[in-house]
Structures are given as structure tokens and as C-alpha cells.
Symmetry: C2
Subunit: 436 residues, 2 copies
Amino acid sequence: MKPVKVGVLGLGTVGGGTVNVLKRNAQEISRRAGREIMITHASARDLTRERICDTQGITLSTDPYEIINDPEIEIVLELMGGTDLAKELVLQAIANGKHIVTANKALIALHGNEIFAAASKANVMVAYEAAVAGGIPIIKTIREGLSGNQVNWLAGIINGTGNFILTEMRDKGRDFADVLTEAQALGYAEADPTFDVEGIDAGHKLMILASIAFGIPLQFENVYTEGITKITRADVEYAGELGYRIKHLGIARKTANGIELRVHPTLIPERRLIANVDGVMNAILVQADAVGPTLYYGAGAGSEATASAVIADVVDVVRALALDAQNRVPYLGFQESEINNLPILAPAEIETTYYLRLTVEDKPGTLADITGILAKQNISIEALIQKEPKQGETRVSIIMLTQKTIEKEMDAAISAIENLSSVTGQVTRIRLETLG
Amino acid sequence: MKPVKVGVLGLGTVGGGTVNVLKRNAQEISRRAGREIMITHASARDLTRERICDTQGITLSTDPYEIINDPEIEIVLELMGGTDLAKELVLQAIANGKHIVTANKALIALHGNEIFAAASKANVMVAYEAAVAGGIPIIKTIREGLSGNQVNWLAGIINGTGNFILTEMRDKGRDFADVLTEAQALGYAEADPTFDVEGIDAGHKLMILASIAFGIPLQFENVYTEGITKITRADVEYAGELGYRIKHLGIARKTANGIELRVHPTLIPERRLIANVDGVMNAILVQADAVGPTLYYGAGAGSEATASAVIADVVDVVRALALDAQNRVPYLGFQESEINNLPILAPAEIETTYYLRLTVEDKPGTLADITGILAKQNISIEALIQKEPKQGETRVSIIMLTQKTIEKEMDAAISAIENLSSVTGQVTRIRLETLG
């Protein structure tokens, strides 16, 4: 069979890695695919820049339209990032009858519904394995490998930067700001780390995972995101004393009242495998009704790990070129007519357990006041640590784990507790999930 | 589209589970597949036996030929086990133009080459996700999800019975025989546990994984298997003292001299995620050149976990019905013409590190004799523990970790050490892999 011609938009970390891996493993890939996959064209903003890849044999251009309008090119790899120009180019390429492979989580999370509708109309594929958890084939796993299951919930460490920071805080007893600076120096975190540390990036990925798990439309606006910037060394240590680790988790869960979509720091029991996923690594734990819990672990970012997912998508697209739309794997794993608008649970309605840390005056009655407020909101206490005051201090830390409660009850309790004259400052509240 | 008619051979644990999950999740499955999947016929040896599934609406028979000869049935699920009758039925079904989904690891490991050749001739698919690691979609992952990679090595805990036994031995300080008896009572181990504890079952699965990882023919006769029956509580404890856990691993590795295919007890550093996979759970760690290390974890057996893999295969087969053979995923992930007869390394040539335990007379010169023998075979010692003799004993245990050495050098050293008059009994030797 003749080679499949592929055009690449963007020759940065992911685009360059894809060129490198396709070249190095050309023989192994065609042993599998039965066809040669040939990158004939690539575009980049600045052609004079030094590249991580050898572009010999590839026609280069600063104009991405040259690629998406080239009649010879069957598959376009969108590896440039961003959501404005990328969206415009992807929609135009689709209109031109090109199949799309993208690593762009923001593009899919924010504009996926529109892109899939256009692709369906044009009868082309849009593949996005590389958009979530880098090289871990989690999209394929949920869409195809678990297709016999109803997914109950999934929980993922899906941002390597955040996981690196939390791992360093725990292993070395360091502060958030200190580790962030190092992560920036190492290139793990951007100069503006907001997307990573505030959970936006993880929120994009969680939205994609939830859509393919439950067959719901993409709706990033309904994902609750909370960052890790307020996690202190003390919280990491107290969590450890109680047998927990703090991870920045994306959680999607199907409940009787609606779907939960939330990214936030989470205490998880240290004996769970996912609690031991450290550094920049990613992992997704999926709880499905037939298979039970399964976990998928690997590099969530990086040039060649992401390229691995891009290339797997290209091979899949090549294989499915000959299929009618009905037999191809649907964009979100579920047939388009079967995507359901299930209700999304408001954050205030989410039921979970909590870790609370308070600073209080060490005097009689304080604890009674606090536990009284919790009791009034029907919140039971599962564990409590009260630390001795430090030398010369009159204030002490109280750490509590609660039993399950509805978030709005907890909000009300925390407001009331913070109003107590014996309580100093704000109450630290971190959600806890047993993931059992 | 009209429903796909499926016939099932065998209504035991896996067959019954498949009927149950297909019924319970019928709606979710057709939301994904876009087509109804209907089990119309099933065969079982004894129709009077009580079943775990409701067989209403399914035509039952004791004669499997009724199913494989039924012109209406497009896909046959071989869930009966065994290799004689199963092979005969599968080959006949293939000759009749049926696609096959099987959970039978022994059938594929021992007769896969012949079955795939027949299937290729008949232009039908043979899918076997359920044959390895139950519900973990590891076949799909390696064949499709990692198709851009060259696999360097993989290591798997792929027998739940063995892992349950080793976990209990460590957690509760129990002896092998004692835990085996309990595992038999719990139904985790067969009355004749040979297949599980001697590594035969894991060997079958490893062979399948190696074939799809490296594109080599199935050749179970070249898999080295060593069981866990000689692992003692003492070894588990010493390994723990040194920071290791003992797991029954299947390892396949591509080296410059050939492919390693081996199943044996293995010390692995306790900080590795796979060292923390406990009980009956399975996990496979894959090291591939682009993606780096990835790990896949889940239930390796059980009625519905295995059914999950069977159903995913059925959905895949349904989608690929319309494809010509060239575009379907090849049986072993590589095109048939691209399966290579790479040399398999003889066990004596394998290079690894070792844990050694010896019982010796506590007298001067003993250690010098032992280390002298090791030095003569170019074996360096990485760590050494010598225990004080117990009250009233004159013999002591010596535990050593070596650096990397070729197995035949180690065999020679052990022979020489066992011939020393100061050494009592046999030297215990367990391989060690850092998996880093």
C-alpha cells in the first residue's frame, strides 16, 4: 500500500518529538501498521529556530494553511497548542477533508463539541490520545478497552507539575513556593504556572476523561477547579501522620443526583497504589462495574512520551480510513446520538469527607464550641489531633478528619467556626477520598 | 444496523460472567458500539447444572458444533478452556467463517501460530484480550496504544494466585504451604495448583505478551519457568530487610544477543509501584523507547473482570467486520509477513543480579572461601548480611546480593559453594531486577 502523507502544525517539544520517533522507529511502526507513515510537510512560526528534530525530507513553511490546503495530505497533526489559531486551522482542515490528530487538551475541552460536529459532517476522524496523560493510552483504554463497562468513577493525577511539587514538599519537607521556583528552573513549570497549579490544565483533561467515561458533552465551564497553592508543609505532614498523602486529583463520579466533575487537592490513603505515584508521573484510577478498579500509570508529558500517543493515533486513523463512520470508534466513545446531557452536580452538593486544620486559643471550651458547630451541621468527626502549644505560644493546631458530609453543610460549619473568637485566621479544608 | 449474533462455548465463570455483563450493560454497550450484540446460542457440557447467569432467550445445547455450524452466528466466544476440544472447535469455527473471541491463554500460547494462520486464510479475526491479565486491556495497549514504540522489556505480575500467596507470606509472616491451603479453600488456587505456582500459567501469558511486544512467533517451549514453591518465609523477610519484595514475575526483554523469556520469583525494590501490587491483583510494567515506563494494573481474573475483556473484544470485532484484513489490527500486532524469528536467549546466558542465602558453619575462613569462589567467577557482591548464630546453634545464615552476572557463571559458583564442607544444604538463589 502507498505511504500515508501527514502534515504537522508545530515543531516544538511535541511536534519535534513526533518527527524524531517516527524517524527512529519507522521500521517498527510500518511492521505494525503495514503502511509507511510519512511526514511530508511541517509548519512552524520561526524556521530559523534551532529544532530538537532533523527536518530533512520535510517541506517546511511558516504558513500552516499550506499544509491544511495541500490535497496530498490526508492527516494533519495539530501540535502547536493554543486555542484560537489552532481551532481555526483544525476546522478548516476538517472542512478540507483531512483527519486530525491533536495533543491539545484545551482545544478539545473547550471546543471539542464544535470540532466533533464539524468532523462528523465531513466524515473525518479527530483523535486526541495525546491530550490526556501524555503517553498513557487512557483514551483508548476507556473508549475501547473498557467498552463493556459502566464507569462508576475515575480519579487521576493528570498534571505532572503539580505532582512534582507535592512530591517534593512531602519527601523533603519543603514549602510550596520554594519547590515551584525549582520546578520553573527545571522546566517542569511555566513562568506563569497558573494553568498547572490552579488545576486548569487538569480540569481540561478531566473534562475529556469524563465525557468518554459517561458519554456526556464537553463542558469545561462545569468543572470545579481548586489549586494546590494553599497547601502547606504542615498539611502534608499532618496528612502523613494520619496515614494519607495529598495529591492534586481530578475526580469524575456518577452519582444518583448527577455527575461530579472536580479538581482539587485530595487526601488519599497512603496504601493505595495511586498515592505512591510520585514526581512528574501521571496515573488514572478507573472504577468500572465489570472490571472493578484498574490503574494506568506513565509519563504525562514530555517530548517522546507525547509523541508515542500521537503516533498511536496516526496508526489508528490509518487503519480506520477505510471504515464508514458507523464502524469507527466514535469521537467520545459513544455514538453521537447517544451523548446524554446528564446533570452535573453543583460543587455545594458534593458529598465527601474532609481534613480540617484550625489554629485556636488553647483554652477550655474551644473544642466544645467547634465540635458543637460541626454537630449542628450533622458533621461527624472521624479522627482528631490536638497539638501541644509550642514553647511561648498560646495557640495550638487542631486537625480533624470528618465523616461524609455535603459540601454546603461544611461551608456553613466553617463560616461559623471562623467566627468564633477563639479561632485564629481561616480554617484549612482539604477533601479526602478513600478511592476504595 | 441489525444486531450481531454471537454464540458462546462454555457457560462457566467466564461464560456466565459474559452473559451477565452483556445483559446488565446492554444499553451502555450499544450506546458505544452503535449495534446490539446478542448472544443467541450457548453450549455447556451439563445443562442441568446451576448457572451464575440467566440464560433466558439463549438457545442452549450440549453440542458446541450446533453453534460453530450455525450460519446465523458471526462471532464465536470460546470460553470453555482446555486445549484439545477448544482447538478443534476454534479451527472448525474459523473454517466456517466465524470470528473468534477467546479467553484461553493456553490455547493461544500453544496453538496460536496455527490458529492465526487458519484465521488469516479464512479472513476472520481472532481476539484474545481476556487471555492475559483478565480485565486489564494490556493486549490492546501493546498492540495499539504503544504502536509507535520499540518495546525494550516488560515485566508482569500475571498470576493472581501466586501473588496472593506471596503477599500473605509477607504481610502475615506465613509459610508457603500454609497460605496455599488457604488459597485453595478460598477458591483462588486449584486443587492441583501446579499451573499457578510453578509459573506455567504466567508463562503462557508472558509468551503472548512477548509476541505482541517484539513481533515474534509464539513459542512457549522457549519460556523458562520457575515456581514459587521454594520461597521461604525467611527469604521474604531478608528481602524486606534489604528493601526488596519478592514477586513472581514474567519478564520479556530484548537484548543484543536475543530475547529473554522467563518466569521466576524476583526481588524488586520496594519503592517501585509494581512491588506494591498485592493480593490477587495483576500488573504489567512496560518499558518502551518513546513513552518510557508505563504500568497497567487491575484484576487478573474473575468472572466479570474477564467478561469485561471479552466484551471489549466483541465490540472491536464488530467494528472491524467491514475492514479488509490489511487494515485490521494484525493478530500479534505486527503484520504477518513482519513476524521475526529473533533468537531466544538460553537461560544460562541471561544476565541478572542475584539474592543468595546460605547456611554455613560459623568458623574462620568460611566467608573467605565463599567470596573467593564468587570472585573466581567474576561475581561481585553488592550487599551482605551475616546473622549471629541463634542460641545453641553453630550455623549462621549469610545473605548476599550480587552485581550483574551471567547465569552460567552463577551456576558454576553455586556448585562450588555447595561443595564446601562448611556450607550446609543448598544455596537459595533468587533473581533480582531493579526494573528502573
